[in-house]
């Protein structure tokens, strides 16, 4: 009955289309309304349509805004990296498909670099998958290994895509917050810790994986060996996988060391470690990342990949491979970009912290990464007349963009719904910015302070 009436309606459209535009368009629209039922999206994406980046990047796109929001460098990538892409683009042989799971030259050098870093043999063909950014690696990993009925532990605050990706795979995200342990005056990312008992409580027989992000976005925490051991012990005890997002692995500041959880005993066989060209070489627009792990896990990521996009860009992979070779050969040299970038960023970090402190704020100084969070509640900006349902930090950032021409990202965007209120006084600044950008931020923050006085 329904089918017949729908067919009639559809036949009706076809006849009407011969008539005037206006009339046929209105018929088309109403017919579209009745057709909406069948053009519904698949269940897996239900509720996943909103994305705060769309809104905030749009707002910050105005060139008069000093953009310390979205995490990308406005400094230039190193010259040799740009040159390698220029060379690759001019090479006729590099314009067609390469190997699906990763350009041979690239996986070879990745296996060398990570073999050395991990202190073990990494097979370029079976232990590595090259993906479209670390984002693509996260997706491939989650699609390959996570499904309905699974629980995945996510540490808050978290890079916002973890939650929707876990949900899209049909699984349940289980959140655990980093908590600030009151340690006196200094606020460092190291002050934010997991409660081991609380963490242990989150593990059960349904727990398929835990997602670890170290160095951590947005706080900048670099998990210590002891902290990683707590996580590792639980993974081993409950036979859980570990998805380790280590895109900021090279960006660690003095006194800190990036430790790969995959190198802890019993962890290699249950860990996927994710890296990013964008963060390693300041080329977020290249969108190349990689997953490294044991063959018996990586092979499943490769299956997802071959059913999703098959190959990544050839010239970009070639250029990345060449850049990696240059740095691999000088990994014992302080000039290696893996180390020189973090030195360059450390001074920017320190400057950013000073700017915020001079404005009367207490930034959380990160041990790694290129973000800094800061509690803005002390500025006492009254936004109670604005939409009460929105978290304070969202309102604050929007207000700051429009009235101060400075952008940041609200930290509650990186939290599950239950924890949003805990973090809504924090906003996140990105400091991988050129001097002139930081100069402009300084002007704004100085004036802000003056106004408050």
């Amino acid at each position: 009955m329904l089918l017949a009436s729908r067919s009639f309606c559809c036949l009706g459209i076809r006849t009407y289309q011969h008539q005037t535009d206006l009339f046929s368009r209105s018929i088309k629209l109403s017919a579209s309304a009745t057709m909406a039922f069948r053009h519904k999206n698949a269940r897996r994406i239900e509720g996943l349509e909103s994305n705060m980046w769309v809104e905030f990047t749009k707002m910050a796109a105005d060139p008069s805004i000093v953009n310390l929001g979205q995490g990308f460098p406005d400094i230039s990538p190193p010259n040799y990296v740009k040159e390698e892409l220029a060379k690759a683009s001019a090479d006729d042989r590099l314009n067609q498909y390469t190997r699906g799971f990763g350009h041979p030259l690239l996986v070879k050098v990745l296996s060398q670099v990570y073999g050395r870093v991990c202190g073990r043999k990494v097979d370029p063909l079976t232990d590595i998958l090259v993906t479209v950014g670390a984002y693509g690696s996260l997706f491939s990993t989650i699609q390959a290994l996570i499904e309905e009925g699974d629980e995945v532990i996510i540490i808050e605050p978290f890079y916002d895509c973890y939650e929707p990706m876990v949900k899209m795979a049909g699984a349940k995200p289980v959140f655990i917050p980093l908590r600030y342990k009151n340690n006196g005056n200094s606020a460092s990312s190291a002050d934010w810790v997991l409660d081991p008992a609380e963490l242990a409580d989150k593990f059960n027989s349904k727990t398929k994986a835990i997602i670890l992000n170290t160095p951590h976005n947005p706080i900048g925490k670099v998990f210590t060996r002891e902290e990683l051991q707590v996580i590792a012990d639980l993974c081993i005890k409950h036979d859980t996988l570990c998805i380790s997002d280590e895109v900021y692995e090279w960006l660690v500041y003095k006194g800190n060391q990036h430790i790969k959880i995959a190198t802890l005993p019993g962890m290699w066989e249950r860990t996927i470690t994710i890296g990013s060209a964008g963060k390693t070489y300041s080329v977020t627009g290249w969108k190349l990342g990689w997953s490294i792990g044991p063959q018996n896990l990586i092979k499943h990521l490769q299956v997802v990949h071959q059913n999703m996009l098959y190959t990544c860009s050839t010239p970009l992979q070639e250029a990345l491979a060449q850049a990696f070779w240059i740095d691999y050969k000088r990994m014992d040299d302080p000039d290696c970009y893996f180390y020189s970038l973090s030195r360059e960023l450390e001074s920017k970090r320190d400057r950013m912290a000073r700017l915020l402190q001079d404005a009367g704020l207490k930034p959380v100084v990160p041990d790694g990464g290129y973000f800094m969070i800061v509690d803005v509640s002390t500025l006492n900006v009254d936004l109670s007349d604005v939409d009460a349902k929105q978290a304070y930090d969202y309102k604050f950032v929007k207000w700051m963009i429009t009235s101060k021409k400075l952008s940041a990202i609200p930290v509650s965007a990186f939290c599950g719904s239950e924890t949003k209120r805990q973090f809504e006084k924090y906003i996140r600044f990105c400091f991988i910015k050129k001097d002139s950008t930081l100069d402009a931020a300084e002007v704004i923050l100085k004036n802000w302070n003056k106004q408050m006085a």
């Binding site: 990047t57 406005d74 627009g285 860009s313």
Partner: protein, 429 residues
């Protein structure tokens, strides 16, 4: 151990049945044995100069921000020019921000479509022979692929077969549609046959889509590669179809740059919004520099549209010559080519060469696959068996066709000819 804990395997159930991939095997064989590779579909000639220059220029400019993220749903210059181009082609107003989305190759566009719309219990009609990923992707999305074959009606009077001789049976097609049918995948021009669906054939499909309220995923990556003055008709331009069609395109095929991995979807916002949701939760951004260069490429083409200098005019002209050359080669050697109306593929009937590869009774592997493997190992000529483009149950429907890619330099095609002629001579002597 991990395996011991879980009674079920470590990988997710959605990977069941999608782990096999014939390309892995055939690409490896070609890499190991072939001297002339007419297998995997990619040109062995470079992209046009203007496109390469566009990339080099983009990268050498002052603006190093091309190395950073661009707009996630598509670099603004690219979506703008695509909207302009498709407005012209479809006779339909388009908003670059909502009616166009850029993807990592057409492959990722297909993935987004299936993930966005196919649920467990949904059926998706796939016309055989088909680009093999369709079946895998529908399965991974939990859907049920429903196959309907193009059937060869060989011409009489010893005329050479054409891709136009492969047709759908309208009653058979209609019988595949039911309440569970969510979408039909259309690929025109068709890989591997080279068939360019006629207006009548598209109207048949459109009528059924409208009648049963079904989506159409229209893979048109070879849209510019049509020969003999044939017209590529876009099903989205047929009555009732714009609202229910997602068009997929590829810079790799359009500009002979398969390694750039830039593709796109075009369609109504009501459908694209869901494709955007999948995209933002899977890869989010596509690489910036190549999008900038492709945008420049399209600017040029839009300016030269329809003129002799247009790459969209020159490329099919060049490829038609190559097609005819290979057709002649194959015919002279005793393989019977099917002249394609479009794409850069053609099929050839290898029945006259069957004696070289004896039948193996009760073999799991289709004959054409064994033949293609033997051929690459023993003759150094790589091609893909037609059975690769059929579902498991239908792999033996046609046992004696292999697919050649002719988007190759003259030297490559000449070398292929040499192999074929030598082979023929060996058989006759």
């Amino acid at each position: 151990s991990l395996q011991a804990k879980m009674s079920r395997p470590v990988q997710s159930r959605r990977l069941e049945g999608v782990d096999k991939n014939i390309w892995v095997e055939f690409v490896k064989l070609a890499a190991t044995y072939s001297t002339v590779n007419l297998g995997q579909g990619f040109p062995d000639f470079p992209p046009p100069d203007f496109l390469k220059e566009a990339l080099v220029t983009a990268l050498s400019g002052e603006n190093h921000m091309l190395h950073q993220y661009t707009r996630a749903f598509g670099h603004p210059p690219l979506v703008k020019i695509l909207a302009q181009l498709f407005e012209k082609l479809l006779g339909q107003e388009l908003d670059p921000m909502t009616n166009v989305m850029v993807t990592v190759g057409a492959y990722q566009a297909l993935f987004c479509c299936f993930q966005a719309f196919v649920d467990e219990g949904d059926e998706v009609i796939i016309i055989e022979p088909f680009f093999d990923c369709y079946e895998q992707m529908v399965t991974m999305a939990g859907g049920t692929p429903v196959f309907v074959p193009l059937r060869l009606k060989a011409p009489e009077n010893g005329k050479m077969m054409s891709s136009a001789d492969w047709k759908l049976d309208s009653a058979e097609l209609a019988s595949k549609f039911n309440e569970r049918t969510k979408a039909i995948v259309l690929n025109s021009p068709n890989n591997p046959l080279g068939k360019v669906f006629s207006r009548g054939e598209l109207e048949l499909i459109a009528d059924l889509c409208v009648k049963h309220d079904v989506l159409c995923i229209s893979d048109e990556v070879y849209e510019w590669l049509v020969y003999d003055g044939k017209e590529h008709i876009r099903i989205a331009s047929l009555p009732g179809m714009w609202d229910r069609t997602v068009i997929i395109g590829s810079a790799g095929k359009t500009f002979s740059a398969t390694g750039w991995k830039v593709g796109w979807t075009v369609g109504p916002n009501r459908l694209l919004q869901h494709i955007r949701t999948v995209h933002q939760n899977s890869v989010y951004h596509c690489a910036t520099a190549a999008q900038e260069a492709v945008a420049q490429g399209f600017q040029r083409e839009l300016m030269l549209y329809g003129k002799p200098d247009s790459y969209f005019v020159q490329l099919p002209k060049e490829l038609q010559k190559k097609r005819d050359w290979l057709v002649q080669s194959l015919d002279a050697a005793g393989m019977k080519p099917i002249i394609p109306e479009g794409t850069y593929f053609l099929l050839a009937d290898i029945s006259n060469f069957k004696s070289d590869v004896p039948d193996v009774p009760n073999s799991d592997e289709p004959y054409d696959s064994r033949f293609a493997k033997w051929m690459v190992k023993n003759k150094g000529l790589a091609a893909i068996p037609l059975s690769a483009f059929y579902c498991g149950a239908h792999k033996n429907n046609y046992s004696h066709f292999i697919r050649f890619c002719f988007a190759k330099e003259e030297a490559t095609l000449k070398a292929a000819n040499d192999i074929l002629q030598k082979w023929k001579q060996e058989k006759t002597s």
